[in-house]
């Protein structure tokens, strides 16, 4: 079964290229540490998912969309230069003028104007699949084209391909912010995606940046570096794994299996990824890993909400059942404890059958209404991933994003409120605060913003009250 990737905007196109490159390079790598037959099955499975063939050349199953031609041209030529795989020349859509970080422009102007052309391109790509597993939509949530147009297209994919699965790969903005309206844009994107997407796989720029600095030892971090780390993380999730343990048959429905295990609940769709190990190529030859060590770290990263291997808080422990709920000692610690709704652990590499995952099957890690039997899944393959003899990835539907969400919603509310105060002041002729630089004055964005905030507010409040309820039970 195949996945059609839709790359949107500057961010989506740059990351998309890195993802395809990482997938292809890994599948062709001779360092898979497995038998020839197994390697071939792995390659074939990867190829079926993400590539098709045209005159013997692998072509990415992707549609590239941007409102400016620069980035698309760049990734097209980079793919062609790789000499290994290509993008289809006929699967690109670009215009002369971008959205200028204006979410409403992407959603209300570019979307309806170019809907037919873009959906047509997607349709053509879908027709080239024997079977469509779903869509992988790569976009930022804080920009203009990617987020605005992305929300618009996701909605339309939802309407046109109701049975295909839709996973949005979204990039969370830097906390310090490149764009003043990023919080507005993020809320608008999220509130729309929550209605039309099946799962949101979220990467935080801040986290990836830290990984580049601390784990990869990169001094001058470029977007290229960040995108490569991100592509590595995605590859470690979406490269093939066995459908049944020990069977050497590769999973054919990766998106469906992932979603069925992680996001069946309509209100909890946000997924975070954690990887271990992650290090620069130079230090890799000097490192050895054991499954016990890797999984111990990964588990602690999960329960303490650590973004990476370094700086894990080892004090955080799962709450013990039967302890008084308001013990002062434990309360402090438990507040840092990250409760999971569901987790998926993906193990790749040598002796994978010996890995012990009991640590992830502790009921204390999960909510009161979903036991580890249903909430925890593991995928495995003996085929090593991207030069790591052993590696593990965690896809988690947990409280990872409660704090970033609260921050974004808080900032957006403040901005919205001050904007309203300014409007009030203007109408009533009283001196008020200075007008913030937002597109809120645009008549197209105002109603969207109000409904977006209201809808998102409900979801976030629901999520926060959920967390509080869980905490008070323990």
């Amino acid at each position: 079964m195949s996945i059609v990737t839709v790359q949107l905007g500057q961010c989506g196109n740059q990351i998309g290229f890195e993802v395809f490159n990482a997938l292809f390079t890994d599948s062709q790598s001779s360092q898979g540490l497995c038998s020839k037959r197994e390697n071939e099955a792995y390659q074939a499975s990867c190829k079926e998912r993400f590539f098709r063939e045209e005159k013997g050349v692998p072509i990415a199953r992707a549609v590239l969309v941007d409102m400016e031609p620069k980035v698309i041209n760049h990734v097209l030529s980079k793919a062609a230069q790789s000499g290994q795989w290509k993008y289809s020349q006929h699967a690109c859509f670009c215009q002369k003028q971008g959205s200028g970080n204006n979410w409403a422009y992407g959603y209300s102007v570019h979307g309806p104007k170019h809907e037919d052309s873009i959906m047509n391109l997607i349709q053509k790509e879908v027709e080239k699949c024997d079977s469509l597993n779903g869509f992988f939509i790569i976009m930022s949530i804080a920009g203009g084209t990617g987020s605005g147009l992305g929300a618009f297209l996701t909605q339309h994919l939802h309407d046109h391909y109701s049975n295909a699965l839709k996973m949005n790969q979204i990039i969370w903005p830097y906390g310090t912010g490149e764009v003043i309206v990023q919080n507005y844009n993020s809320i608008l994107t999220l509130s729309h995606l929550y209605r039309s997407s099946d799962a949101l796989l979220i990467h935080e720029n801040d986290t990836i940046h830290k990984i580049c600095a601390k784990l990869m030892n990169i001094k001058q971090i470029s977007f290229g570096d960040i995108n490569q780390v991100l592509a590595h993380q995605l590859g470690s999730v979406f490269q093939p794994t066995y459908s049944v343990e020990g069977s050497f048959h590769y999973r054919r429905n990766p998106l469906g299996d992932l979603m069925e295990n992680l996001v069946p609940h309509p209100e909890f769709k946000m997924l975070g990824v954690r990887n271990i190990p992650q290090m620069s190529e130079n230090s890799l030859p000097y490192s050895t890993f054991t499954w016990a060590g890797l999984l111990k770290h990964l588990r602690q990263m999960l329960i303490s909400n650590a973004k990476m291997e370094e700086g894990i808080d080892w004090q955080v422990r799962p709450p013990l059942p039967g302890l008084p709920p308001l013990g002062k000692m434990s309360q402090n610690r438990e507040q840092h404890f990250n409760t999971s709704l569901a987790n998926l652990v993906i193990l790749r590499g040598k002796d994978v059958q010996n890995a012990n995952l009991e640590g992830f099957k502790d009921p204390a890690l999960y909510t009161s209404w979903l036991g580890p039997d249903e909430a925890f899944t593991v995928w495995k393959t003996q085929r090593a991933f991207s030069r790591y003899e052993k590696s593990a990835a965690l896809v988690s539907n947990s409280q990872f994003f409660v704090k970033p969400l609260d921050t974004i919603v808080g900032k957006a509310w403040n901005m919205f409120a001050s904007k309203e105060a300014w409007n009030y002041a203007r109408v009533h002729g009283t001196p008020g605060p200075a007008p913030p630089q937002t597109p809120g004055g645009d008549s197209r964005v105002r109603p969207l913003l109000t409904t977006g905030l209201a809808a998102w507010g409900t979801v976030v409040r629901g999520r926060v009250s959920e967390v509080c309820a869980e905490l008070s039970k323990q």
Partner: protein, 459 residues
């Protein structure tokens, strides 16, 4: 020596053991003639075999895997219940112990009753028939479509977390979508095979090969290449991946064990052929068996007033009942006619000269017309509802150009239309049920003051 024994040792071209042996060969897991002989004399050692045989022929094929795990007692209970349901008249069967320790003669009688009463052999043979064509699964949701679903039993003492329910529901939705995805994939692959093999089939009406036929042609006896059955279809088209894929015959689905698909199929076909031949032979010599069965019945102790006479008859399902019903109907009609006549006379004398004016006759005419129209409409809707006979077993999937001369069978458009109408009725049912649930929820919510009910997204 009675007649049966004479037949047993009989001269002539057809002896009783031979006749029983042919019957056994045409049955799945048929017992040996010796078992039948012992059952006549009610030897207990024949009982377990006959219980098994009865269970095997009565259990539906699809349920076999699950049913095989049933204990001996449960199997015996199953047999008793099904026979009772079929109208088996001898109460002695119901009194047999369920441990299978005795009662072989009763079981033999029951088996023979089934054999005489229903087209048992035909059923069994068609159930295990090897399908060479690509089949279209026909309607499988009849049971769902019927109204009056059991009301969910809610245990008020055990609280179910709503979030868990939502989770399970979401999971179900994802699985449903995956199922649709793989169905679509299967259709795409089938279509490819049908297109590639166009013009290959010896049967002009079919025009192309099925998956099974393609596989057999492609690889008739290549013993080097070991493949897994469900993978064959994908490999045939050069596709990677390996998840189980639907294949037509039940025997092929079992090909999970590495095996030669074609050779295995050949063996299955040979087996089926042998059973068909045995069934044909049986038809010619079954009279010997029935004569012998008469002596078995004669050997039974009398069973009270309701001992049925045991007559071998050509199994024509439901024919006798129909006659019975027809006779009853006729009698009822007669009665009705008499009653109507007497009533009418009484009424006419009562009304006397009234009601013969022009107004009266006009009103009567109008009434008659409306009744006729309504009757017509009802008839039409009845005919539409009946639709094409889609439920009559699976069909072979054949791709031919629209409008080809001499095309027979069931056009896809008709199937789609029937499926659409079924979908519509199912959706209406779903809507109705959802409405009921909503009302119930509203009632429950109304009973708790201060409770605010917010529907989750996507509902």
């Amino acid at each position: 020596m009675d007649g049966g024994a004479a037949a047993w040792t009989g001269a002539g071209p057809r002896t009783l053991p031979e006749a029983i042996a042919t019957l056994s060969r045409s049955l799945p897991a048929g017992p040996s003639p010796e078992i039948f002989r012992r059952a006549k004399f009610d030897h207990p050692e024949a009982a377990p075999v006959l219980w098994r045989l009865l269970f095997r022929v009565l259990a539906p094929l699809r349920a076999n895997c699950a049913a095989a795990s049933l204990g001996r007692g449960a199997q015996a209970r199953w047999v008793k219940v099904v026979l009772h349901y079929c109208g088996y008249p001898r109460p002695a069967l119901a009194q047999l112990p369920e441990d299978g320790s005795q009662g072989s003669r009763e079981l033999l009688l029951a088996f023979s009753w089934l054999l005489a009463r229903v087209p048992l052999l035909e059923w069994l043979l068609s159930q295990t028939c090897v399908q060479l064509g690509d089949q279209v699964p026909t309607f499988e949701c009849e049971a769902l479509a019927s109204p009056g679903l059991a009301a969910p039993q809610v245990d008020a003492r055990r609280s179910v977390d709503l979030r868990r329910l939502q989770w399970l529901m979401g999971k179900l939705r994802f699985r449903w979508r995956s199922l649709i995805c793989s169905q679509q994939e299967q259709c795409a692959l089938l279509s490819k095979i049908h297109t590639y093999t166009h013009g290959c089939h010896s049967d002009q009406n079919l025009g192309h090969l099925s998956v099974t036929e393609t596989e057999m042609l492609r690889d008739p006896e290549d013993s080097q290449q070991v493949r897994k059955g469900p993978e064959a279809l994908r490999q045939m088209l050069g596709c990677p991946g390996s998840q189980a894929l639907w294949l037509p015959a039940d025997t092929l689905v079992q090909a999970e064990v590495p095996s030669l698909l074609a050779l295995q199929l050949l063996r299955v076909l040979e087996r089926e052929n042998a059973r068909l031949e045995a069934a044909l032979e049986w038809r010619q010599c079954e009279l010997i068996f029935w004569q012998w069965m008469d002596t078995v019945l004669g050997a039974c102790p009398p069973e009270g007033p309701a001992v049925p006479t045991f007559l071998p008859r050509i199994p024509e399902h439901g024919c006798q009942e129909l006659e019975l019903v027809a006779r009853e109907l006729q009698a009822l009609q007669e009665k009705l006619r008499e009653q109507v006549l007497s009533r009418r006379q009484a009424w006419e004398t009562q009304v006397g000269g009234l009601g013969h004016g022009p107004e009266w006759s006009a009103a009567r005419q109008a009434l008659q017309q409306t009744v006729e129209q309504e009757l017509l409409a009802l008839q039409r809707s009845w005919e539409q509802e009946r639709g094409p006979s889609l439920t009559q077993g699976p069909h072979r999937l054949v791709k031919i150009k629209a409008g080809t001369a001499g095309a027979q069978g069931l056009p896809v458009a008709e199937v789609i239309r029937a499926l659409r109408s079924q979908e519509a009725s199912l959706e209406a049912m779903l809507c109705w049920l959802q409405g009921q649930c909503r009302q119930e929820l509203a009632r429950l919510a109304g009973a708790v003051p201060g409770l605010l009910w917010i529907l989750p997204p996507g509902c």
